[in-house]
Protein backbone atom coordinates (compact mmCIF):
# COMPACT_ATOMS: atom_id res chain seq x y z
CA UNK A 1 0.00 0.00 0.00
CA UNK A 2 1.38 3.38 -0.98
CA UNK A 3 1.50 6.17 1.58
CA UNK A 4 -1.23 8.74 1.33
CA UNK A 5 -0.59 12.43 0.82
CA UNK A 6 1.56 14.49 3.13
CA UNK A 7 -1.43 16.37 4.56
CA UNK A 8 -3.06 13.10 5.56
CA UNK A 9 0.13 11.85 7.18
CA UNK A 10 0.64 15.01 9.27
CA UNK A 11 -2.98 15.21 10.39
CA UNK A 12 -3.08 11.51 11.16
CA UNK A 13 -0.08 11.96 13.44
CA UNK A 14 -1.87 14.66 15.46
CA UNK A 15 -5.10 12.69 15.54
CA UNK A 16 -3.19 9.58 16.56
CA UNK A 17 -2.01 11.26 19.73
CA UNK A 18 -5.52 12.46 20.56
CA UNK A 19 -7.06 9.08 19.84
CA UNK A 20 -4.49 7.24 21.95
CA UNK A 21 -5.05 9.56 24.89
CA UNK A 22 -8.80 9.20 24.55
CA UNK A 23 -8.59 5.42 24.27
CA UNK A 24 -6.38 5.17 27.34
CA UNK A 25 -8.81 7.42 29.20
CA UNK A 26 -11.71 5.17 28.25
CA UNK A 27 -9.78 2.07 29.34
CA UNK A 28 -8.57 3.44 32.65
CA UNK A 29 -11.88 5.03 33.63
CA UNK A 30 -13.83 1.86 32.92
CA UNK A 31 -15.22 1.70 36.45
CA UNK A 32 -16.35 5.32 36.48
CA UNK A 33 -17.64 6.38 33.08
CA UNK A 34 -19.25 4.57 30.15
CA UNK A 35 -16.79 2.46 28.26
CA UNK A 36 -14.24 -0.02 29.46
CA UNK A 37 -11.67 -2.37 28.09
CA UNK A 38 -13.39 -3.40 24.89
CA UNK A 39 -14.45 0.06 23.82
CA UNK A 40 -11.17 1.73 24.71
CA UNK A 41 -9.21 -1.03 23.00
CA UNK A 42 -11.31 -0.55 19.89
CA UNK A 43 -10.54 3.19 19.93
CA UNK A 44 -6.81 2.48 20.27
CA UNK A 45 -6.96 -0.04 17.45
CA UNK A 46 -8.78 2.40 15.19
CA UNK A 47 -6.05 4.95 15.90
CA UNK A 48 -3.49 2.37 14.80
CA UNK A 49 -5.58 1.61 11.72
CA UNK A 50 -5.65 5.28 10.79
CA UNK A 51 -1.88 5.52 11.01
CA UNK A 52 -1.42 2.29 9.06
CA UNK A 53 -3.63 3.51 6.23
CA UNK A 54 -2.07 6.98 6.15
CA UNK A 55 1.56 5.89 6.23
CA UNK A 56 1.32 2.91 3.99
CA UNK A 57 4.22 0.56 4.48
CA UNK A 58 6.96 3.13 4.45
CA UNK A 59 7.80 4.20 7.96
CA UNK A 60 5.43 2.05 9.90
CA UNK A 61 7.92 -0.60 10.88
CA UNK A 62 9.78 1.72 13.20
CA UNK A 63 6.59 3.02 14.82
CA UNK A 64 4.76 -0.12 15.84
CA UNK A 65 5.84 -3.36 17.47
CA UNK A 66 6.42 -6.18 15.04
CA UNK A 67 7.13 -9.22 17.16
CA UNK A 68 5.51 -8.89 20.57
CA UNK A 69 1.83 -8.53 19.69
CA UNK A 70 0.99 -12.21 20.08
CA UNK A 71 2.64 -12.09 23.47
CA UNK A 72 0.41 -9.18 24.45
CA UNK A 73 -2.81 -10.83 23.38
CA UNK A 74 -1.89 -14.09 25.07
CA UNK A 75 -0.87 -12.15 28.16
CA UNK A 76 -4.24 -10.40 28.23
CA UNK A 77 -6.19 -13.64 28.08
CA UNK A 78 -3.88 -15.33 30.55
CA UNK A 79 -4.05 -12.51 33.09
CA UNK A 80 -7.82 -12.33 32.77
CA UNK A 81 -8.01 -16.09 33.28
CA UNK A 82 -5.70 -16.06 36.26
CA UNK A 83 -7.58 -13.23 37.93
CA UNK A 84 -10.91 -14.86 37.18
CA UNK A 85 -9.90 -18.24 38.54
CA UNK A 86 -7.35 -17.55 41.25
CA UNK A 87 -9.27 -14.99 43.24
CA UNK A 88 -12.21 -16.97 44.37
CA UNK A 89 -13.55 -16.54 47.85
CA UNK A 90 -10.90 -17.54 50.36
CA UNK A 91 -12.05 -19.95 53.01
CA UNK A 92 -13.37 -18.03 55.98
CA UNK A 93 -12.69 -14.69 54.40
CA UNK A 94 -14.17 -11.77 56.21
CA UNK A 95 -16.48 -10.04 53.79
CA UNK A 96 -16.93 -6.53 55.02
CA UNK A 97 -20.07 -5.98 53.03
CA UNK A 98 -18.37 -3.85 50.45
CA UNK A 99 -16.25 -6.01 48.22
CA UNK A 100 -18.06 -9.20 47.33
CA UNK A 101 -20.22 -10.01 44.35
CA UNK A 102 -19.55 -12.96 42.09
CA UNK A 103 -15.82 -12.91 42.72
CA UNK A 104 -13.99 -11.77 45.80
CA UNK A 105 -12.76 -8.30 45.03
CA UNK A 106 -9.50 -8.61 46.91
CA UNK A 107 -7.96 -5.48 45.42
CA UNK A 108 -10.66 -3.09 46.59
CA UNK A 109 -10.25 -1.74 50.06
CA UNK A 110 -6.70 -2.22 51.29
CA UNK A 111 -5.18 0.44 49.07
CA UNK A 112 -2.68 0.14 46.30
CA UNK A 113 -3.49 -0.10 42.62
CA UNK A 114 -7.16 0.84 42.20
CA UNK A 115 -7.44 -0.11 45.83
CA UNK A 116 -9.25 2.60 47.73
CA UNK A 117 -12.68 2.13 49.16
CA UNK A 118 -15.48 3.25 46.93
CA UNK A 119 -17.81 5.75 48.59
CA UNK A 120 -21.33 4.42 48.61
CA UNK A 121 -23.92 6.57 46.98
CA UNK A 122 -23.46 9.41 44.53
CA UNK A 123 -19.87 10.58 44.57
CA UNK A 124 -17.35 12.40 42.46
CA UNK A 125 -15.85 9.26 40.98
CA UNK A 126 -12.38 8.65 42.29
CA UNK A 127 -10.00 7.02 39.86
CA UNK A 128 -8.15 4.89 42.35
CA UNK A 129 -11.14 2.73 43.29
CA UNK A 130 -12.76 -0.29 41.81
CA UNK A 131 -10.31 -3.07 42.57
CA UNK A 132 -10.60 -6.08 40.33
CA UNK A 133 -13.18 -4.48 38.06
CA UNK A 134 -10.70 -1.79 37.04
CA UNK A 135 -7.82 -4.22 36.73
CA UNK A 136 -9.85 -6.53 34.51
CA UNK A 137 -10.93 -3.58 32.41
CA UNK A 138 -7.32 -2.55 31.83
CA UNK A 139 -6.31 -6.14 31.07
CA UNK A 140 -9.16 -6.47 28.60
CA UNK A 141 -8.06 -3.24 26.96
CA UNK A 142 -4.56 -4.64 26.54
CA UNK A 143 -5.92 -7.82 25.03
CA UNK A 144 -8.32 -6.04 22.68
CA UNK A 145 -5.72 -3.63 21.33
CA UNK A 146 -3.27 -6.49 20.81
CA UNK A 147 -5.81 -8.70 19.05
CA UNK A 148 -7.18 -5.96 16.81
CA UNK A 149 -3.65 -4.85 15.99
CA UNK A 150 -2.76 -8.40 14.97
CA UNK A 151 -5.80 -8.53 12.70
CA UNK A 152 -4.98 -5.15 11.15
CA UNK A 153 -1.34 -6.03 10.63
CA UNK A 154 -2.03 -9.39 9.07
CA UNK A 155 -4.56 -7.91 6.67
CA UNK A 156 -2.05 -5.16 5.88
CA UNK A 157 0.59 -7.75 4.98
CA UNK A 158 -1.91 -9.60 2.85
CA UNK A 159 -2.87 -6.47 0.97
CA UNK A 160 0.77 -5.61 0.39
CA UNK A 161 1.31 -9.12 -0.91
CA UNK A 162 -1.66 -8.88 -3.27
CA UNK A 163 -0.59 -5.45 -4.50
CA UNK A 164 2.98 -6.56 -5.10
CA UNK A 165 1.86 -9.58 -7.11
CA UNK A 166 -0.77 -7.66 -9.04
CA UNK A 167 1.12 -5.20 -11.18
CA UNK A 168 -1.64 -4.87 -13.75
CA UNK A 169 -3.56 -2.48 -11.54
CA UNK A 170 -6.56 -4.71 -11.05
CA UNK A 171 -6.74 -4.22 -7.31
CA UNK A 172 -5.47 -0.69 -7.53
CA UNK A 173 -8.62 0.80 -8.94
CA UNK A 174 -10.01 1.86 -5.56
CA UNK A 175 -8.34 5.21 -5.71
CA UNK A 176 -7.78 5.41 -1.97
CA UNK A 177 -4.08 4.84 -2.04
CA UNK A 178 -3.09 6.60 -5.23
CA UNK A 179 -2.27 9.90 -3.66
Amino acid sequence: MKPMSRITIIISQFAFVLAVVYGLYIVIHGHLTPGGGFQGGAILASAVAMVLVAFGEKDIKSLLPQKLDVVYVALGVFMFLSIAFLIIIPEGAKIEGSVFASIYNAFAGPGGLFGYQTPIGPNDGYLNTGGIVSVKSVITGLEVIAALYIILKVMFWAENDVLSKDESGLMNSGGDHNA
Binding site: G30, H31, L32, T33, P34, G36, G37, F38, Q66, V70, V73, A74, G76, V77, F80, L81, A84, G97, S98, V99, F100, A101, S102, I103, N105, A108, G109, Q117, T118, I120, G121, N123, G125, T129, G130, G131, I132, V133, S134, K136, S137, T140, E143, V144, A146, A147, L148, I150, I151, V154, M155, W157, A158, D161
Partner: protein, 88 residues
Protein backbone atom coordinates in the same frame (compact mmCIF):
# COMPACT_ATOMS: atom_id res chain seq x y z
CA UNK B 1 -47.09 -18.85 -8.26
CA UNK B 2 -43.67 -17.87 -7.03
CA UNK B 3 -44.72 -14.26 -6.65
CA UNK B 4 -47.83 -15.15 -4.69
CA UNK B 5 -45.79 -17.25 -2.27
CA UNK B 6 -43.46 -14.34 -1.73
CA UNK B 7 -46.42 -12.05 -1.15
CA UNK B 8 -47.97 -14.43 1.38
CA UNK B 9 -44.69 -14.74 3.25
CA UNK B 10 -44.28 -10.98 3.23
CA UNK B 11 -47.79 -10.35 4.57
CA UNK B 12 -47.36 -13.02 7.23
CA UNK B 13 -44.03 -11.65 8.39
CA UNK B 14 -45.33 -8.11 8.43
CA UNK B 15 -48.38 -9.17 10.44
CA UNK B 16 -46.28 -11.05 12.99
CA UNK B 17 -43.78 -8.24 13.38
CA UNK B 18 -46.49 -5.58 13.60
CA UNK B 19 -48.33 -7.62 16.23
CA UNK B 20 -45.11 -7.93 18.20
CA UNK B 21 -44.50 -4.24 17.87
CA UNK B 22 -48.00 -3.45 19.11
CA UNK B 23 -47.48 -5.61 22.17
CA UNK B 24 -44.28 -3.88 23.26
CA UNK B 25 -44.67 -2.27 26.65
CA UNK B 26 -44.19 1.47 26.93
CA UNK B 27 -40.66 2.67 27.48
CA UNK B 28 -39.56 2.46 31.07
CA UNK B 29 -42.48 0.39 32.29
CA UNK B 30 -41.02 -3.04 32.78
CA UNK B 31 -42.99 -6.03 33.81
CA UNK B 32 -40.22 -7.58 35.87
CA UNK B 33 -37.55 -5.25 37.16
CA UNK B 34 -36.24 -7.17 40.16
CA UNK B 35 -32.84 -7.84 38.59
CA UNK B 36 -32.40 -4.21 37.55
CA UNK B 37 -33.39 -2.97 40.98
CA UNK B 38 -30.96 -5.39 42.58
CA UNK B 39 -28.10 -4.20 40.40
CA UNK B 40 -28.95 -0.55 40.95
CA UNK B 41 -29.17 -0.98 44.70
CA UNK B 42 -26.27 -3.32 45.39
CA UNK B 43 -23.72 -3.07 42.59
CA UNK B 44 -21.74 -0.23 44.07
CA UNK B 45 -21.22 -1.74 47.47
CA UNK B 46 -20.77 -5.26 46.18
CA UNK B 47 -18.27 -4.65 43.41
CA UNK B 48 -16.74 -1.31 44.33
CA UNK B 49 -17.42 0.11 40.89
CA UNK B 50 -19.34 3.29 40.26
CA UNK B 51 -20.27 2.25 36.75
CA UNK B 52 -22.93 -0.41 37.09
CA UNK B 53 -22.58 -1.55 33.49
CA UNK B 54 -18.90 -2.25 34.09
CA UNK B 55 -19.70 -4.04 37.33
CA UNK B 56 -22.12 -6.30 35.47
CA UNK B 57 -19.72 -6.90 32.59
CA UNK B 58 -16.59 -7.56 34.64
CA UNK B 59 -17.96 -8.91 37.88
CA UNK B 60 -21.48 -10.30 37.83
CA UNK B 61 -21.06 -11.78 34.35
CA UNK B 62 -17.29 -12.01 34.30
CA UNK B 63 -17.26 -15.43 32.71
CA UNK B 64 -19.18 -14.07 29.75
CA UNK B 65 -16.51 -11.42 29.32
CA UNK B 66 -13.88 -14.11 29.62
CA UNK B 67 -15.58 -15.90 26.74
CA UNK B 68 -15.54 -12.73 24.68
CA UNK B 69 -11.84 -12.28 25.35
CA UNK B 70 -11.23 -15.88 24.36
CA UNK B 71 -13.16 -15.36 21.13
CA UNK B 72 -11.00 -12.35 20.34
CA UNK B 73 -7.85 -14.34 21.11
CA UNK B 74 -9.04 -17.11 18.83
CA UNK B 75 -9.75 -14.59 16.09
CA UNK B 76 -6.25 -13.17 16.27
CA UNK B 77 -4.63 -16.60 16.26
CA UNK B 78 -6.88 -17.68 13.41
CA UNK B 79 -5.91 -14.65 11.35
CA UNK B 80 -2.23 -15.39 11.94
CA UNK B 81 -2.76 -19.01 10.93
CA UNK B 82 -4.80 -18.10 7.87
CA UNK B 83 -2.24 -15.64 6.51
CA UNK B 84 0.85 -17.54 7.62
CA UNK B 85 2.27 -17.79 4.10
CA UNK B 86 2.16 -14.07 3.46
CA UNK B 87 5.59 -12.42 3.48
CA UNK B 88 5.90 -9.70 6.06
Amino acid sequence: MNKSIKLIVLVFLAAVLLAGFMMVRPFGQLEYSDMDDYYLDHAQQETGSNNIVTSVVYDYRGFDTLGEATVLFGTAVGMLALFRGVPR
